[in-house]
């Protein structure tokens, strides 16, 4: 058992308890201390897998990536609203596939979720290195295959 991971997990779990309970009397805090101990003992090897390095840099880069993602989500919603409300309904769906340069599981998950949240594309499947993506029209598919988002994710997870 890695004692450092255990203590870090314990602090996070206990802080989460305090946040959700919002009661600071001795009964609630005491129950929190005991429950957090049990939960942290059970899950400390899940939260910190101990395989990654540069975790801090990655986290900071991911936080820096979020504003762009939120901007893309807003664009995606305006895009879908336009297509749904337009009388002509300008959609021309297609499935495209492309090979990813990303290797890590977290990086691939981040890319898959980002694809789903950005305008006009939904991730269907990942088979080995190949992403299957459903695009609602030609332009979103072309934008995706251009690969700007993949490079951003690669930068965040230090795989470029």
């Amino acid at each position: 058992m890695n004692i450092k991971h255990f203590i870090a997990t314990y602090i996070i779990v206990f802080a989460f308890w305090l946040l959700l309970s919002a009661h600071f009397d001795s009964f609630h805090v005491g129950a929190g201390i005991i429950c957090s101990l049990v939960v942290a003992y059970g899950t400390h090897d899940l939260l910190f897998t101990g395989t990654g390095n540069h975790t801090l840099t990655k986290t900071l880069r991911f936080i820096a990536y979020l504003p762009w993602l939120i901007y893309q989500i807003v664009l995606a919603n305006i895009d879908v609203a336009k297509r749904a409300l337009s009388p002509r309904m300008p959609i021309d769906p297609r499935v495209v596939k492309f090979k990813t340069i990303l290797r890590g599981d977290v990086a691939r998950t981040a890319l898959a979720n980002s694809i789903t949240l950005t305008p006009g594309t939904v991730t269907i499947d990942i088979v080995d290195d190949v992403f299957y993506v459903h695009a609602i029209a030609k332009e979103p598919a072309d934008d995706l295959l251009e690969g700007a988002m993949e490079r951003r994710i690669a930068h965040v997870f230090m795989e470029d």
């Binding site: 879908v80 021309d92 297609r94 495209v96 190949v130 690969g147």
Partner: protein, 142 residues
């Protein structure tokens, strides 16, 4: 009513209205779009921002309280769970072989002939096992 309360209320109402608009657009898209996959676009994206904006409105209205922090966590979880569940549902449909709808004036008729594997700069050219998938799923013989 003081000025700050009024501004807070106005901001809350505005955010709620925009959130409701996107939810409505998503629902209309869900009804109008022709097939399963394009409907995933409507629900997967609009729900995320619609719910997000409505929850932000509640945070603005509630001010800096513990409840607001909980709502902030809710937004984070929705942001994580929504695309993941969208992906899970779409993958399930793809695995049972449901074919995406194609418009008649589309320049490419066959499904999945837009193969861009290898164009994104990966040097390794080993044959990938995902290649034969389109044929297996019965997409070619339309």
């Amino acid at each position: 009513m003081s000025d700050t309360t009024m501004i807070t209320n106005m901001l809350t109402i505005m955010l709620l209205l925009v959130g409701v608009f996107f939810m409505l657009a998503g629902t209309i898209g869900f009804v109008r779009f022709p097939d399963f996959y394009s409907r995933m676009h409507a629900t997967g994206k609009c729900d995320t921002l619609g719910e997000g904006l409505m929850l932000v409105a509640l945070i603005v209205y509630g001010g800096a309280t513990f409840v607001s922090v909980k709502i902030l966590f809710l937004i984070t979880f929705i942001l994580l769970a929504n695309p993941t569940s969208t992906h899970a549902i779409a993958k399930a449909a793809y695995d049972v072989g449901l074919e995406p709808w194609r418009s008649f004036d589309s320049e490419e008729v066959a499904w999945l002939n837009t193969d861009n594997t290898g164009n994104t700069g990966n040097a390794s050219n080993t044959g990938n096992s995902g290649e034969g998938r389109a044929g297996e799923d019965g997409g070619e013989g339309r």
